[in-house]
Amino acid sequence: MNFDFSLIISSIPQLLEGLGLTLQLWFISGILGLLLAIALMLMRISGKWFLYAPAMIYIYIFRGTPILVQLFIIYHGLPQVEFIRESFLWVVLREPFGCGILALTLNTGAYVSEILRGGVNGVPKGLGEAGAALGLSKVQRFIYITTPLAVRLAIPAYSNDVISLMKSTALVSTITLLDMMGIARIIVSETYAPYEIFISLMIIYLVITWGTQKAFALFERRMSRHIIQ
């Protein structure tokens, strides 16, 4: 067994051909997941049982099962259900890409909604009361007082989840998609050089993780201008 350094260098460009797909999966499901998370969080804090009960059940199920299982139910399972094949959803579910986006979105939405709720709950109650005492409406208090403070509180946990989502995109290689992970698996099966190829891929993922952390740290600092001391 010999470790081939040149293979690390030469495989990186090949692996990067899958970067576009990885980034697409990450960004699209990240944005859709955030929207879903906001909706779920608002349902959770609405105080109305017919809103928060479904949201809680949803979050419980999607956080309680492996994302790989969710992906397989969507990719292998749902096409078996006739009414889905006949519905508009089929446009999405016909393609593995759509299945990947759907699974990642549904999964990250559940996690992020809890993070957002933590942020909202972390805002001291007295600040909302101070807003109320000034005659601000409930909606105004939520937009101008709770939200900016909750966002600041939620950033560290949210950045972890964004990185988690990026790592989860690698799972789409199990449903025939050729993201970076998928390409790596093909190269390994051809060259049988798992160390070189997988380590190259690790380096790429680590660079993305590092960049993401830096970007969020910058954003957090910007959002924390008011905490100077």
Binding site: G135, L136, S137
Partner: protein, 252 residues
């Protein structure tokens, strides 16, 4: 000069107000009227219901039975009325509750801009005037975390004044302050009282009560035990519970 005597219009009235927190009976059949310009100090041991009482007046707490009428509005579940009442009633909290993500002047501008749709320049001008009134215009563009406790509380008073309220509620405004900062806050409150503001103030500052209040109310266990002028209250307390309380609080 007691404005209440020259213009005896009732601005707040509570009739048979009850408030429960679960099983706990926090307010028991409270009756209280406040005339325009009257300065009331409410004191009593902790857990006696004094904070709950003033929090009911702007409906941060909802009473369970009885009537509360503030400036002609009965407090009910009608949301519109509540926000209208809250604009007429300013409140100062024990923990200041300044919005940490806004600068001092932005703290003061927020409500006028959102609720009254005041233009930015005008709101700022008004805010600066109020900051001068509480003697810290130079801190306008700092964030609350950069100010001392006493300064923060003065800002909080200015913020409560920014909607030009007819009534001011103070919920233990000096309890969270270091001793050397208490006076600067009390001075601002005394100024307000001199200008004829209707004030209800929950506090243990008996010096303030003696010199500023028209009426002192003593509460214990959710009831109003005694209500009197400061002279009578301090020199000649009628109730046993009042005497005990005064002995404890004045002994140190």
């Amino acid at each position: 000069m007691n404005l209440a005597n020259t213009e005896p219009r009732t601005v707040i009235s509570l009739q048979n107000v009850d408030k429960y927190f679960g099983e706990f009976h926090a307010l028991k059949k409270i009756n209280l009227t406040v005339a325009k310009g009257e300065r009331i100090v409410i004191c009593g041991p902790s857990g006696s219901g004094k904070s709950t009482l003033i929090r009911c007046i702007n409906r941060l707490e909802q009473h369970n039975s009885g009537n509360i009428i503030v400036d002609g509005h009965e407090l009910t579940d009608q949301v519109k009325d509540i926000d209208a009442v809250r604009r007429e009633v300013g409140m100062v909290f024990q923990n200041f509750n300044l919005f940490p993500h806004l600068t001092i002047v932005e703290n003061l501008m927020l409500a006028p801009r959102l609720v009254r749709k005041t233009a930015r320049d005008e709101a700022r001008k008004h805010a600066m005037k109020l900051l001068e009134r509480v003697r810290i215009p130079e801190q306008a563009d700092k964030y609350p975390s950069q100010l001392s406790g006493g300064q923060q509380q003065r800002v909080a008073i200015a913020r409560a004044l920014c909607m030009n309220p007819a009534i001011m509620l103070f919920d233990e405004p000096t309890s969270a302050l270091d001793p050397e900062m208490i006076n600067e806050v009390l001075e601002v409150m005394t100024d307000l009282a001199k200008e004829g503001m209707t004030m209800i103030c929950v506090t243990h500052e008996m010096g303030f009560a003696r010199s500023v209040a028209d009426t002192v109310v003593f509460m214990d266990a959710g009831e109003i035990v005694e209500r009197n002028t400061p002279e009578e209250f301090f020199n000649n307390p009628q109730q046993q519970r009042t005497q005990t309380f005064l002995k404890q609080i004045l002994s140190h």
